[in-house]
């Protein structure tokens, strides 16, 4: 032990600070990696061209997740299935009940089941553990089907997931479906595809009696905050039957007879389009791309559905028009109040799929706001073309962005609100910018006409909050504005 004789009055801590060190480093002004230059576009500055659908750049702190995440997002809201994650604990724990996908019945999806692979399983293989975990869980919770998710490590150690699933399926008499979602085998989109292939195994395995000729499946809606119930209610008023929710408040038995529907409604970029295409090829069911966000897109979607069914039921268009009229007459006066306050405010959007971004651009326009930045994690070339068409000159369009880029764009454009998910929230808040959660964790229903009102409320509640004036960045802006005003006044007096 050191002797206490060295004790003197404590000196304040004085090691060389890291901040002093970095000050000596040549300042790097460019936030965008050279490798990512063609994934950022400023409308109007150059002809439109954008790269996308690339692997994320190492070290760039992408906001993207992985293949597993894509599969888990899509399948998780199936409420009466067992969702077993075959892998080490992390993958299951970070996806335990984090999304607000509501159920009107069973809630098996709200649990997190994992084989929790240990070192010995990695060495000797995890098949036996998977078999025992599956059979025990099926006995314990009696699911209607089981989805078994593969993770990175399973892809490496080479467990025969499909073989175990087949074996358990035979023994237990329920569908046991492997999901090929090894994290490293692509990005989230590959995970969507794996989920669609898994669901497609269920489709067509049950009779399709009692299905109306006016019938649809709802694809790509996850019933966050009860949103699918809003859409279902509209369809009911139009006289259209819903066969299967895919996947919000979803049921295995509904999926099994989903091939009996006359039309597939596909929302959400990419996540379920592959299933719609498979059903089109196999069962000749056409699909319609829809969006339930914002006034225009919601109304247009309903009209398109009515248009599709008008030959089967000539009255359906009338009912739809009445529905939209009723909803709008209630919504518009309420919306006007928010618009008055929000007119001219600036917004930034960074979301997972680009389809949602289209609707958000329109929704902000409806509130009299401008969109200064719009981006997505997994947009396609087509998606970005469309974004380019619907945005104003000067808007930044970005693919697979990261915190450094996003924070610099927010500062440059001096926006009033940022729309994104949990990972984007602290970037906005740290900089004194308002925020609206439009991701899967949201607890406010933002779909449908009522959803537009909720969205306006959300935007208003953050943009118009008094707290911003106290934050350092806005404070600086406020005092600068004040200073300029004072200068003008002085000059005016002098003159």
């Amino acid at each position: 032990m050191r002797s206490w004789t060295r004790w003197k009055k404590a000196t304040p801590p004085s090691p060389i600070s890291w901040h002093e060190i970095i000050r000596k480093v040549p300042a790097m002004t460019n936030t965008i990696f050279a490798e990512r230059k063609d994934q950022v576009h400023r409308k109007g500055e150059e002809p439109f061209q954008m790269a996308c659908d690339k692997e994320s750049l190492a070290g760039a702190v992408s906001q993207r997740a992985c293949v597993f995440c894509g599969s888990r997002v899509v399948l998780y809201p199936i409420t009466d299935a067992l969702h077993l994650v075959h892998g080490p604990i992390g993958c299951a724990v970070y996806t335990w009940d984090i999304r607000g996908a509501l159920s009107s019945g069973p809630e098996l999806h709200r649990h997190s089941y994992s084989t929790d692979l240990q070192e010995s399983d990695v060495i000797f293989g995890g098949e036996d553990k998977l078999y025992r975990a599956l059979t025990q869980l099926i006995d314990r919770i009696s699911p209607k089907a089981a989805f078994v998710y593969s993770t990175c490590i399973v892809g490496i150690i080479g467990d025969d997931l499909a073989g175990i699933c087949r074996k358990v399926e035979r023994e237990k008499g329920i569908p046991v479906i492997p999901v090929e979602s090894e994290g490293f085998k692509g990005n989230k989109r590959a995970g969507y595809n794996a989920a669609c292939r898994a669901m497609f195994q269920l489709v067509g395995t049950a009779p399709t009696d009692d299905i109306s000729p006016l019938s649809v499946n709802i694809l790509g809606d996850f019933n966050l905050a009860g949103e699918i119930w809003i859409v279902r209610e509209y369809l009911e008023r139009m006289g259209v039957q819903v066969v299967a929710n895919i996947t919000g408040d979803g049921r295995v038995d509904d999926l099994r007879r989903a091939h009996g529907a006359a039309l597939n409604l596909v929302q959400c970029s990419g996540s379920t389009i592959d299933l719609a295409k498979m059903m089109e090829d196999e069962y000749q069911i056409p699909f319609l791309r829809v969006s339930y966000f914002g006034v225009e897109d919601m109304a247009e979607s309903l009209y398109n559905i009515a248009e599709f069914f008008k030959d089967v039921d000539p009255q359906v268009m009338e009912r739809t028009k009445a529905l939209v009229r009723d909803e709008l007459s209630e919504l518009y006066p309420k919306l006007r109040e928010y618009r008055q306050a929000l007119e001219g405010k600036k917004a930034a959007i960074y979301v997972g799929g680009a389809f949602k971004a289209f609707s958000l651009v329109k929704a902000f326009r409806h509130l009299g706001m401008t969109v200064e930045l719009v981006g997505s994690q997994t947009g396609t070339e087509e998606d970005y073309k469309e974004l380019h068409e619907i945005t104003d000159p000067g808007t930044i369009i970005v693919d697979d962005s990261n915190p450094l880029e996003l924070s610099s764009f927010l500062q440059e454009k001096d926006v009033d609100i940022f729309v994104g998910g949990v990972k984007e929230r602290p970037i906005a808040y740290k900089l004194g910018v308002g925020f609206c959660d439009h991701n899967h964790e949201r607890k406010e229903a933002l779909e449908g006409f009522i959803g537009m009102l909720n969205f306006a409320k959300e935007v208003y509640s953050t943009v118009m909050s008094p707290v911003w004036r106290f934050t350092p960045r806005k404070k600086a802006l406020y005092s600068k504005a004040l200073e300029t005003d004072v200068c003008h006044e002085i000059k005016a007096i002098e003159n």
């Binding site: 995440c69 970070y94 975990a133 025990q136 490590i153 970037i427």
Partner: protein, 462 residues
């Protein structure tokens, strides 16, 4: 272990249901967040970093940037080395960081990447660029998520930081190394205050007090200010002593043990100071190091705490508590609950810990006749199954126990990690006399409120 849990003859459940632990790389990232100028870096696929960022952000409500080598399929086959190096280069160029903390994941451990060698190669190959960017330190730690939990990942990272950076180059005089484990930013601020008040300079590792609870900013800080300065870590070998919290921390995992072995800095291993007895031991250690008496401020805090124990004891006497979470936090809370007359009936942790049971016995045997049920390596399914029969009055632990609290209609006092359904987790102070005081008030009030809410009378005077 699970087999102890099930009293019947049935086979223990193989699957984990609603886990009571996170994975090792997450713990490592949290530890790296507490070093000044540091960017945590996961060598693995992109999803791990993103998932953990979201999980940690939801608790601290702060930006948490975790870089990734973003391995794809071809890297998994041919090795992740090139992407690791590219990632390190990119982080260095854009973040201007002082430290990059590289933690491995199950993917890179299984494909056989030799990360320490790759990091060494990077240092040699990119010496000029490193120089140009202020020579950031690169610390690496092995954290496959199939071995151990976030608790092990955290301690492994702290140990790796000390192992790879500490020396006996003096940075300050009269320093004491404080290795508190995974505690809140508010706890760390208070610990530093205590050590300062004893006339010492604390080197707290990791120090997340600012990095994960920072002030509002006018410019986006690429790497948040705060954290243990690297220069201070380099001087850890010259400290008067090291204090490391954690009765469940094996000597082979203790960072203070490294300092003792290598630089002959005496390691003092104490329990996490919650409650009177554990805090007294901490204060005694500081008294011994400084040959000083306890500052009057803490005498007063202690006195008020004892006074409140007396004032509040009737409300909580004999109440039964279930405590779950990280092993050392559970042990500290159990010690505290025991001394205020609450009966811990189940102490559970999701981590595997051989020292857990002994530690619980040590902190309870002086007061309790009967040791509580102690379980390690359990999930919330096991906890529910065991606790149901024990009929607890109160739960203490992370927000993941909320479903049990709702089911049994008993209060949950949210402590530890993660707290995803309440606000202000980063500001919960539960250490020392003052932190214990807040905790005591919170628990007594939770019990009072439960009684008030259930009462048909609607008392306004309790």
């Amino acid at each position: 272990m699970k087999s102890k849990l099930l009293k019947t003859e049935k086979e223990p459940y193989v699957a984990t249901t609603d886990s009571c632990k996170q994975c090792a790389p997450l713990g490592a990232c949290l530890a790296f967040k507490g070093v000044e100028g540091s960017v945590p870096f996961l060598h693995g696929s992109q999803g791990c970093a993103t998932y953990m960022r979201r999980y940690v952000i939801s608790h601290f409500r702060e930006p948490v940037d975790i870089a990734s080598s973003s391995l794809g399929e071809k890297h998994a086959i041919y090795g992740g080395g090139p992407n690791l190096k590219l990632g390190l280069k990119n982080v260095m160029a854009k973040y201007h960081c002082g430290v990059i903390g590289v933690a491995t994941t199950c993917l890179t451990e299984t494909i056989g990447d030799d990360t320490p060698r790759l990091v060494k190669e990077f240092r040699d190959e990119f010496a000029d660029e490193l120089e140009c960017h202020g020579n950031p330190s690169i610390v690496n730690v092995s954290t496959p998520s199939y071995a151990g939990s976030h608790v092990d990942g955290f301690h492994s990272a702290v140990r790796a930081i000390v192992d790879q950076l500490a020396s006996n180059v003096p940075a300050m005089e009269n320093t004491v190394n404080l290795l508190p484990g995974f505690v809140s930013p508010a706890d760390i601020r208070y610990l530093k205050e205590i050590v300062h008040d004893f006339g010492l300079n604390p080197v707290v590792l990791p120090d997340i007090s600012e990095t994960l609870d920072g002030p509002a900013a006018s410019e986006y800080e690429k790497v948040p200010s705060g954290g243990t300065p690297v220069a201070s870590i380099k001087g850890m070998g010259t400290a008067l002593s090291s204090i490391e919290f954690g009765r469940c921390l094996a000597n082979s995992m203790g960072a203070a043990n490294v300092l003792e072995d290598r630089f002959n800095v005496r390691s003092r291993r104490l329990g996490t100071p919650i409650g009177l007895r554990e805090t007294d031991i901490f204060m005694d250690a500081l008294k011994e190091i400084t040959c000083r008496t306890i500052p009057i401020k803490y005498e007063l805090e202690r006195g008020r705490l004892v006074d409140s124990y007396v004032d509040g004891h009737k409300y909580i006497s004999g109440k039964k508590a279930v405590i779950y979470g990280d092993p050392d936090m559970v042990v500290a809370l159990t010690s505290f609950l025991t001394e205020i007359g609450i009966r811990p009936v189940l102490c559970a942790t999701g981590a595997k810990s051989q020292l857990f049971k002994t530690a619980i016995k040590t902190v309870t045997e002086e007061i309790l006749d009967e040791s509580p049920e102690v379980l390690d390596n359990v999930d919330f399914y096991d906890i529910e199954e065991t606790a149901e029969e024990l009929k607890p009055d109160v739960l203490l632990g992370s927000s993941k126990g909320y479903k049990l609290s709702r089911k049994w209609n008993i209060p949950l006092v949210r402590l530890g990690f993660p707290i995803h359904d309440r606000f202000g987790a980063q500001r919960i102070c539960q250490l020392g006399y003052k932190g214990t005081q807040d905790l005591f008030d919170m628990i007594v009030n939770a019990v009072i409120q439960a009684k008030q809410d259930r009462s048909p009378i609607g008392y306004t005077y309790i």
